[in-house]
Symmetry: C2
Subunit: 164 residues, 2 copies
């Protein structure tokens, strides 16, 4: 499979898993966290499909398309862990959906970061029933890893439900 094909497959999987996650939390209160703005495409997808939700974005340095930059009061700018701690103090355990795209492929350091640093930093922000979708494992204490759809090609995505 060419890189063009695997890239399309990955984008398709991302869209589908985002749509599944949004449907899953549709009837639940809570805010949304987007970790890693990047070019802003998934942020745009989230805000377009959840018009009533407050979406808080965490990004070290904004490099997104000008049309995909969140308002200042929804942007936590800086190192993701420091900003998650700040957000936890300000927002409390109100996140019902988290999309994280701050990993770095299959790098051991990235997997270790997700497990030992990102997962505990995320936990104080989660509402019971929250859905987490991440490009790296984030085994939050009290969260259950969910199966991906059986007909989906294997991709580096991880889905969790936080039970509280």
């Amino acid at each position: 499979m060419s890189r063009l094909e695997s890239f399309i497959r990955r984008m398709d999987a991302q869209r589908r898993l985002l749509n599944d996650a949004m449907a899953d939390v549709a009837d639940k209160d809570g805010i949304v966290l987007e970790l890693g703005l990047g070019n802003g495409r998934t942020y745009d997808h989230l805000r377009e499909n959840m018009p009533g939700r407050d979406i808080y974005v965490f990004e070290r340095e904004v490099r997104a398309h000008p049309g995909c930059i969140p308002p200042d009061n929804r942007l936590y700018l800086g190192h993701v862990i420091e900003q998650l701690e700040k957000a936890a103090a300000e927002l409390g355990p109100r996140a019902i959906l988290v999309h994280s795209d701050v990993g770095n492929g299959d790098e051991p350091a990235s997997i270790d970061f997700g497990r030992t640093i990102l997962a505990p930093a995320l936990r104080p922000l989660l509402a019971p029933g929250a859905r987490i979708l991440s490009d790296q494992p984030v085994p939050v204490e009290g969260a259950l890893e969910l199966e991906k759809p059986a007909d989906m090609d294997p991709e580096r995505y991880y889905i969790y439900r936080y039970l509280g």
Copy 2:
């Protein structure tokens, strides 16, 4: 439609049009030109699906994935027009497939560049029957613009057959 969705749609269209173009020239002799390497995804798609072809790549500055960098003797590095002139002298009218991705959206300057500068620079490299797929109009003299598949969403792609 969100930017994630429109991006996926565009990538899908690109893949489909590339596959159509490769099928169209499958039984014809000739070389392939890739104008704009970018991240190297379409180059990888071309070389994977046309293992016997010589693919010449034109790029100002290589920034592709390390696995998607063409060999030195297939790379024309520098300004695309200067390099096309050099290639025309070295290779002659042997290109049976050209994929060009050096445009800049709907910018008038980009459209003007394609029409008045890129199209004439490309012509001396084309073999009769060549297929051109481009992200900007390149109305080469002697080329016929082809219709895109009727069920394809409108995208900024242009297809031509060079009649000679």
